[in-house]
């Protein structure tokens, strides 16, 4: 064949390799140069040369990588592969910070575990279109553990703020001028490939290409075996056409027909293998050609160690695509169609749909998309789905797409639009051929279920999941698979709807759904089920709810879904559970992360839960105005739901209470009067009435209001309502001047709160003075009382009731570390947060334990909390 012989390898550009050797001795090396400058070749040659890095993790950024999650997952994967930790189940705990940050931390941990050092290579970073990812990458690069180096290649300079590294002399740069071939290297390249060219000819070639690597490589491929190399160079230097275009045309013309054919007909693909290339060229033998092209260093690179998949250099592919469209524009749709057929056969449906669209076969693409939409949704590819829908030309509507649009609407919480699209989809499905009809019906059934659930319509869900009682039947594998998918979706929706209505089977159904989802290889569905478990947990113990939510979030993080709506219920539930135990700051951080996760989902169900949690947090912090706003917003969303959540009555109660505390008992009374008898009789509303009475200086009325709650003669959601009633009774007694009765009520509230260390009602009712008036020796719950007071105060105001300070004051550095102990950040993550070394953090922690007289983290936190060391006022 006429591609350059296999002996053509990169010449040993010793100077350049030495330059990279020197550069790579620093922490970070940036290679910034335009397309075709030889960035990738340099890195590959450097990796292979004796004395090069012994361990390398390479991450090429995909074209137009908008999804930061995918980038971080690829990075983490590459590091784990390189360190041989790929099989480890990652126990890293989830953190409330935005996901990209957590992912960067995880990569840092993985890098820290790389014993003996590692070089991390990130190629084509200019393709990463996510500012957030760049910011976190900056943090990663400035905090690389000892022994770890990074090389970043990019076509143009990026906003990486690496000045700290630069000042420390830990940053080096290689730019286009460094990558240029010198005249001597050009000569060596020609000699190494056996091209006989005069000194003048070589000089001319060097001058014309300006030492540009891509130009020289194209020239060498054409020159190899050229009958008259001198004439080639003379003509080339006489031409004023741009280097790449001239040389590409020359190079192509000099290839054997089958090689030309292969290059032009496969350049439309992002990746190609021998079989696919055979299909597109209509001839066998493509794999050999691809291997030869790679061996000849002709802009073809293999993507896997087995060398089955290849891609073309971006510059080369771009030029080839232009050439293809110019030379044989009529062939382009057919090539896409054939590629689509191959991808369908191998189940790569997203690629298949893209190529069908590119072929201009819009009806075919619509059909394919509709058929695959259910499966893609179950794999969490909703964003990809919607991008594919948007790629259809506007105007020409395809009825098939109604189904896909309904899925998108549902994912974004646009329930009415989803219902409308679903109706169209149903009509269409009946016109489809039987085979497709079955598949579409399953997707529609699943969608209807999800829609009913998101409306809080429990009866509707139960009606539609009756089929769960019948065993799975089906003739074909596809039937069985579809049946399992639908079953898992049904369990998810049933369990969620039951949790919404506080029914006892919720947890069992969600767990069954999660197990089934795992069995059938649908991790996204598994996460969906686990994310709802928090809501399904009985109110106590909070520790269990917190743990379940953390587990669900950790699993979502592992898959890269940690910032998506799917995990929002768990984020919300975790924040709520933390509020009950008084961890308001941490709850706030999780709530903010939940806020980000639901940005693309405006459904009334999750939005209601978000407002409820937001209101709780404000109410606990005494910000009554904001609490009223949040609770009101939650109240208003009830009208959009068929069935409000079981906890809705609590929202109403807290709204009334917040209004009264804000000094507007009149408004609260007006709302109260509008409630029907059933709701007005609930314990939560009785408590609210008590708050209203207190605000009206009617403590006797307040006592009357909570009496039925204390007697247990009205329904309550949980014991939290009773604790709240005790505290309100205590406040009423206090207002009446009956300190003894007030103390007894406070003591009863503490007794009920003790097993779960419940804090929320104490904060929400403003029971600080009530607790302070309770003498220490008169309570059996002194520790809890102190802890609650600390939390309510923020910082201990009255020092007389603080336990004696530790023997030795903590140093400012130790206090800083101490502040992170209540979080579940690892030592390494704390170190990274504080820009300290892990050793320093470990030393601090040891010293903290010694000074506090404890032996583990949780007792350190308890002790520190008791001493008031964790409150903001003391540690800033």
């Amino acid at each position: 064949m006429t591609v350059a012989p296999a002996t053509l390898r990169l010449i040993d550009r010793g100077d350049l390799l030495a330059a990279l050797d020197r550069a790579a001795a620093r922490k970070v090396t940036i290679i910034s140069a335009p397309a075709g400058s030889g960035k990738t070749s340099l890195i590959r040659a450097w990796a292979d040369h004796p004395g090069g890095p012994h361990r390398l993790a390479v991450v090429p950024v995909q074209r137009d990588q908008h999804d930061a999650q995918l980038f971080w997952l690829a990075l983490l994967d590459a590091v784990r592969q390189a360190t041989g930790a790929a099989g480890d189940a990652e126990p890293a705990a989830a953190t409330p910070e935005f996901n990209a940050r957590a992912m960067a931390d995880r990569v840092l941990s993985a890098l820290a575990d790389a014993r003996g050092g590692l070089t991390l290579v990130i190629e084509d970073l200019h393709e990463l279109a996510s500012p957030e990812a760049l910011a976190q990458l900056t943090r990663l690069l400035t905090n690389l553990p000892p022994g770890v180096h990074a090389i970043v290649s990019t076509r143009h300079d990026l906003r990486l703020r690496l000045h700290r590294l630069r000042l420390a002399g830990e940053l080096s740069e290689i730019r286009a001028s460094d990558l240029r071939f010198s005249a001597r290297e050009t000569r060596e390249l020609l000699d190494a490939t056996g091209i006989a060219l005069s000194e003048a000819g070589a000089a001319l070639l060097h001058q014309r290409t300006e030492g540009w690597a891509a130009g020289l490589r194209l020239a060498v491929i054409s020159l190899a075996g050229h009958p008259d190399p001198e004439r080639f160079v003379a003509e080339f230097s006489g031409s004023e056409r741009t280097v790449a275009e001239y040389l590409l045309a020359e190079m192509l013309d000099r290839q054997r027909g089958d090689v030309q054919r292969l290059l032009l007909r496969t350049c439309l693909l992002d990746r190609v293998n021998g079989e696919l290339a055979d299909l597109l060229t209509g001839r066998p033998g493509s794999e050999r050609i691809l291997l030869d092209l790679e061996d000849a260093n002709a802009f073809v690179v293999s993507l896997d160690p087995e060398r089955t998949w290849f891609r073309y250099h971006h510059l080369f592919a771009d030029l080839l695509r232009l050439e293809l469209r110019r030379r044989m524009p009529k062939q382009v749709p057919e090539l896409h169609r054939r590629a689509a057929g191959w991808f369908i056969e191998y189940g790569e449906m997203v690629d298949a749909i893209r190529h069908t669209q590119a072929a201009g076969d819009w009806p075919g693409a619509a059909q394919l998309l509709a058929d695959q939409s259910f499966s893609l949704t179950l794999d969490g590819q909703t964003q990809t789905l919607q991008a594919l829908v948007r790629a259809f030309p506007p105007g020409a509507d395809h009825p098939e797409l109604a189904l896909v649009r309904a899925m998108g609407d549902l994912g974004q919480g646009h329930l009415d639009e989803a219902a409308a699209h679903l109706a169209v989809a149903e009509t269409y499905a009946e016109t489809a051929l039987p085979d497709r009809r079955r598949r579409l019906r399953v997707a529609i059934a699943a969608l209807k279920l999800s829609l009913a659930r998101r409306r809080g319509h429990l009866a509707g869900v139960i009606e539609q999941v009756k089929f769960l009682d019948s065993p799975l039947t089906g003739q074909s594998d596809e039937d069985i698979a579809l049946g399992s998918d639908l079953r898992a979706v049904a369990l998810l929706n049933l369990g969620t709807a039951e949790a919404w209505s506080a029914l006892p089977d919720a947890e069992r159904h969600l767990r069954e759904g999660a197990v089934l989802a795992r069995e059938i290889g649908r991790p996204y569905l598994e996460v969906s089920c686990l994310a709802q478990l928090g809501l399904a947990s009985k109110v106590r113990p909070f520790a269990t709810t917190q743990r379940r939510n953390r587990e669900a979030i950790a699993l979502a993080d592992r898959h890269g879904w940690g910032a998506e709506p799917v995990i929002a219920p768990a984020l919300n539930s975790l924040a709520g559970a933390l509020m009950f135990t008084g961890d308001f700051d941490e709850a706030d951080r999780w709530l903010q992360r939940a806020e980000r996760a639901v940005q693309t989902d405006t459904g009334p169900d999750i939005t209601l839960l978000m407002h409820m949690a937001g209101g709780m947090l404000h109410a606990c912090r005494g910000r009554h105005q904001q609490a009223v706003e949040e609770f009101s917003a939650a109240e208003q969303l009830r009208s959009q739901l068929e069935g409000p959540p079981a906890t809705a009555i609590q929202v109403t109660g807290w709204l009334l209470a917040a209004q009264a505390r804000l000094g507007r008992p009149g408004e609260a009374r007006a709302l109260l009067a509008a409630l029907d008898d059933e709701r007005a009789g609930a314990g939560e509303i009785r408590n609210a009435l008590a708050v209203i009475c207190l605000a009206e200086d009617d403590p006797a009325g307040a006592l009357g209001a909570v009496q039925d709650v204390l007697d247990g003669t009205v329904p309550v959601i949980g014991y939290v309502t009773v604790v709240e009633a005790q505290l309100l009774a205590g406040l009423a007694h206090r207002a009446l001047g009956d300190q003894r009765a007030a103390g007894q009520a406070a003591e009863r509230a503490l007794a009920l709160a003790e097993p779960d260390r419940l804090v929320l009602p104490f904060a929400m009712t403003g029971s600080r003075e009530l607790l302070e008036a309770l003498p220490r020796h008169e309570t059996a719950h002194a520790a809890l009382r102190t802890e609650i007071l600390d939390i309510i105060h923020g910082s201990p105001a009255a020092s007389d009731r603080s336990p004696p300070p530790p023997a030795e004051e903590l140093s400012p550095g130790e206090l800083k570390v101490l502040r992170y102990l209540p979080t579940n950040l690892s030592r390494f993550e704390i170190a990274s947060e504080l820009s300290l070394s892990r050793n320093t953090v470990s030393t601090h922690i040891k010293s903290i334990y010694a000074k506090l007289g404890v032996s583990d983290r949780s007792s350190a936190v308890r002790r520190a909390r008791g001493l008031g060391l964790l409150s903001a006022g003391r540690t800033r």
Binding site: T242, V243, A244, L315, L322
Partner: protein, 85 residues
């Protein structure tokens, strides 16, 4: 420049070397002319189209020499556009 995109504006973009039919097909919206050893591409581009062209120039390894904007005269703003700078 800053704020809202004022809409399409006339640009000339100078590139080193003569662009052949293959590379020119990447810029269907621009009119090419040869000026000495350079190629000058001219056309009406809004801001995102301009950046698209620049990205294409980058991707094809072309040598960009100059980008020039020809601002429309103040006294004759395009009809219906009251926000021109």
């Amino acid at each position: 420049m800053g704020g809202m995109d004022p809409g399409p504006v006339l640009y000339t973009i100078r590139i080193d070397g003569h662009l052949g039919a293959t590379v020119l097909s990447a810029f269907p919206a621009l009119v090419p002319r040869r000026r000495g050893g350079h190629t000058v591409l001219t056309g009406l581009l809004d801001r995102s189209a301009l950046y698209g062209v620049l990205a294409e120039i980058d991707a094809l390894g072309l040598n960009l020499l100059e980008v020039r904007q020809h601002t429309p005269r103040r006294e004759s703003p395009p009809p219906g556009d009251s926000h021109s700078p």
